[in-house]
Symmetry: C2
Subunit: 482 residues, 2 copies
């Protein structure tokens, strides 16, 4: 064929370009990212070399200038044995910030590798929310070691935070807050701040409180700075003021930060008094973790699995869903085995049936993913659920019809069996409608039950489309072709 | 059986509880979320009723107290015709903030439904980055309408931002920044801020610049407030100071904010001079969009699809990947059709082959998702890629062996065909190893090529596991059973 039909390769190329475009293919990685990765790799090689020759001075020179987050990344990316060697040799830079930054999956290992004095020193400089974050995932003895290292007041504050339920605002907040009585003037506030012995590392607002320590509003530092000394804080407070309760879930807290673009938010105890403050970096962390959870759950992976996990942890996080899948796959097998005489009569069916199932699985995953994401961002609610379900049904029908014509044509013309074409077409329509509906109804149903919609997971929806696909295709074939 | 064997139901229940736990099943939706949804639903009904009877006073009472983000949500969740009716009747509260908050997918529709004067008034009060954000997704004539509404200085600033490439820091930044010469004292800075005619809505830092307007550091407002009037700004500047270039990609910007917990970051032009500032809410938006993109791409859905899209838009965003899937599914069909004589001889194979394929597809999706996520968070790099690939191979082999024993036992004992059991077991091991490797190597390869690893998408990995699964199973059956 080469050279004989110059039109068709050009057309093909144009078509495939068009297809690539509509698939959203584009270059993602940037030059800056590539540069950074190269620098990080070179640094890592230099660190390895320095550890090999026990050159602590070289390690200091390499690691001391790094941000805590970058030191944590380096520790995460080297192997466990390299990590142990490095920590045995060098722990000057392992301060509280590095411990905070490091991934949960290796934090316990790192803490155990460090001398007790280094850990004690590290946690003492942290704010209470960071200490709580570190403590949460540790075993009892490791927790005790860290609590013992804290000053009494800090220890009490940390223990109070830990008394709140896991994944609550109380766990997320730092107890250190900058507050002022609402009747103060700007001048009084500035004088107070100038005289304060201790202030949080980062603070963006002054929280106004009444005499019973109940927050009544907040003033941004920008307003404090740009107002005259005699202005009353209550007169320059912001209009909108939101608080959360210490028992609110961290999911709700993250939603409020994201929805209302908050930078920090006061947390109230059961009596409406100020218990602490949550800042945006904590809220961002929660959002990030929930994204990850949704993605991993959709794929049927344990939601605390990480790229740093060892082989056995990884097996443990993946095998439960594979087991579920094995059970559900047996359902499909059961359906197919009911039609063994049909398949015996027309073996071509065995080759065609995975096409129907695979199209259904794909379409179902599409609906499912959009639905899970919309539920997580609270864009799919009782208000529009019915409209979205109707839309999914229509989309399923249209896509089904489009691929029915295509597959029907293939069956009729290529395979030379018109009736087989009709069977393929009908099965395709049925399965794509069922797929679209399963993809939206399963997560919606789970959500109504108060369960995480991401649990719907590929596995369940794919099973449904497999079973329906095989049944529709083989059933129709039995009725129409035998 | 009922009642005869009390042990087995109890055991089953225990086992299934254990399984549910290891699947991570837990209640996700919170009480607060449920309450909020109910309030939102009631409000929506009230709004609908008010629109029906054309009661603008009632609409004012219902909508005016709402945050712009909540008004935007309400507009997104009602149907297009309800939206048109509402906007025709009530546009008092549609200010710049609402236009900023509203989803891209319906923003153009909303802007077209509003009187020009309302749009003009709305955009005039926005900061430049928000105007750019709104303009980006509009058609040329709608863009012109908005540019015309701006004051000359703002229009010039917006057009300068639009001159930067899409998805660059230059598009993300606001041009309004609070700056001070580094030699100023705290007192001079405070006096300047008190006298300033205009300040950004939110600012958290004072950026220090040299006489050529090149940023040299920053001071947090907290430090300004807590230092004496005579302190020099340069002496209370923060240690670590990061800037981005206006041409940097927004992906890199979001990464820097997340990695180093920034609240705002100066943007430099090609000469190293201050061009603007990016604040954390913009960076959070980018992170959010990229998460969504990864999730949707993995599922083979167009990455700008939204729950608000109409039927035809949805069809358009989903059909390309379904078409790719159809092509790849035909590959599987081709493989199966090569073994038609084998299937004719042993029809049971037709029922069992989807089990092997489905297990492979599931395991592949697990590896793939973990890999795509780790690449996005830059936790999977050249430094640990090899180790992760080795781990995946080991995990695939262990999971393969576990399910090989299970399926082999089923084949041998339940189906009474020991050799079929061996075939099932071998095919399972082969396919789970291939699945685990495909799940990591395909996204890693795409990443090396500078493409988005999420494009690996369920489709490709599933095809690979389907083809290998069918081939291994039917091939082994042909050799060993015929």
């Amino acid at each position: 064929m080469k050279g004989n039909s110059p039109l068709s390769p050009v057309l093909l190329k144009l078509l495939s370009l068009r297809l690539l475009q509509s698939l959203g293919v584009g270059v993602r990685e940037t030059e800056a990212e590539r540069d950074q990765e190269e620098i990080a790799l070179e640094r890592m090689d230099a660190v390895r070399a320095a550890v090999d020759v026990q050159d602590t001075a070289a390690l200091d020179a390499l690691l001391d200038p790094l941000h805590a987050a970058d030191i944590a990344d380096l520790l995460e990316q080297i192997s466990p044995s390299e990590r142990a060697d490095l920590l045995a040799l060098w722990h000057g830079g392992i301060d509280g910030d590095v411990l905070s930054e490091i991934d949960d999956s290796i934090r316990e290992e790192v803490i155990e590798a460090l001398p007790e004095a280094v850990v004690a020193e590290a946690v003492r400089e942290l704010e209470t929310d960071d200490v709580v974050d570190i403590l949460e995932d540790l075993d009892e003895p490791a927790q005790e070691k860290i609590l013992d290292a804290l000053e009494d007041a800090d220890r009490a504050a940390v223990e109070q935070s830990l008394a709140y339920p896991e994944y609550s605002a109380g766990r997320l907040m730092q107890r250190e807050a900058v507050i002022a009585p609402e009747y103060w003037t700007v001048g009084e506030a500035i004088d107070f701040l100038r005289g304060a012995e201790w202030l949080p590392d980062q603070f963006y607002h002054v929280i106004l409180v009444d005499p019973r320590m109940r927050p009544t509003g907040y003033v941004t530092l920008g307003r404090v700075l740009s107002s005259g000394r005699s202005a009353r804080l209550r007169d320059i407070a912001e209009d909108s003021f939101r608080t959360v309760k210490a028992t609110d879930s961290e999911t709700d807290v993250a939603y409020i930060f994201n929805q209302y673009h908050l930078i920090s938010c006061p947390v109230l105890d059961e009596n409406g008094r100020l218990a602490g403050v949550i800042t945006i970096d904590d809220a961002m962390n929660v959002l990030d973790e929930e994204h990850e959870e949704d993605m991993l759950r959709l794929a049927g992976v344990g939601d605390d699995s990480s790229i740093q996990d060892g082989v056995l942890e990884t097996v443990k996080s993946r095998i439960p869903w594979l087991f579920v899948n094995l059970l559900t796959a047996n359902l499909s097998a059961l359906v197919i085995s009911r039609f063994d005489t049909t398949i015996e009569a027309i073996v071509a069916l065995a080759a065609l049936m995975p096409i129907i199932a695979s199209m259904g699985g794909n379409a179902g995953t599409q609906s499912l993913t959009v639905a899970v994401r919309a539920l997580a961002t609270r864009n799919l609610t009782g208000a529009n659920a019915l409209r979205v379900v109707r839309r999914e049904a229509a989309v399923g029908a249209i896509n089904g019809a489009a691929f029915a014509i295509l597959m029907g044509g293939v069956g009729a013309l290529v395979l030379g069996m018109p009736l087989l074409g009709v069977v393929l077409a009908l099965a395709m329509v049925i399965n794509l409608i069922v797929a679209a509906l399963a993809g939206i109804l399963v997560p919606l149903g789970l959500d109504r039950l108060g369960l995480d919609p991401a649990l719907a997971s590929g596995t369940f929806v794919t099973t449904m489309t497999d079973v329906v696909g095989f049944f529709a295709f083989l059933g129709l074939a039995t009725v129409m072709l035998l």
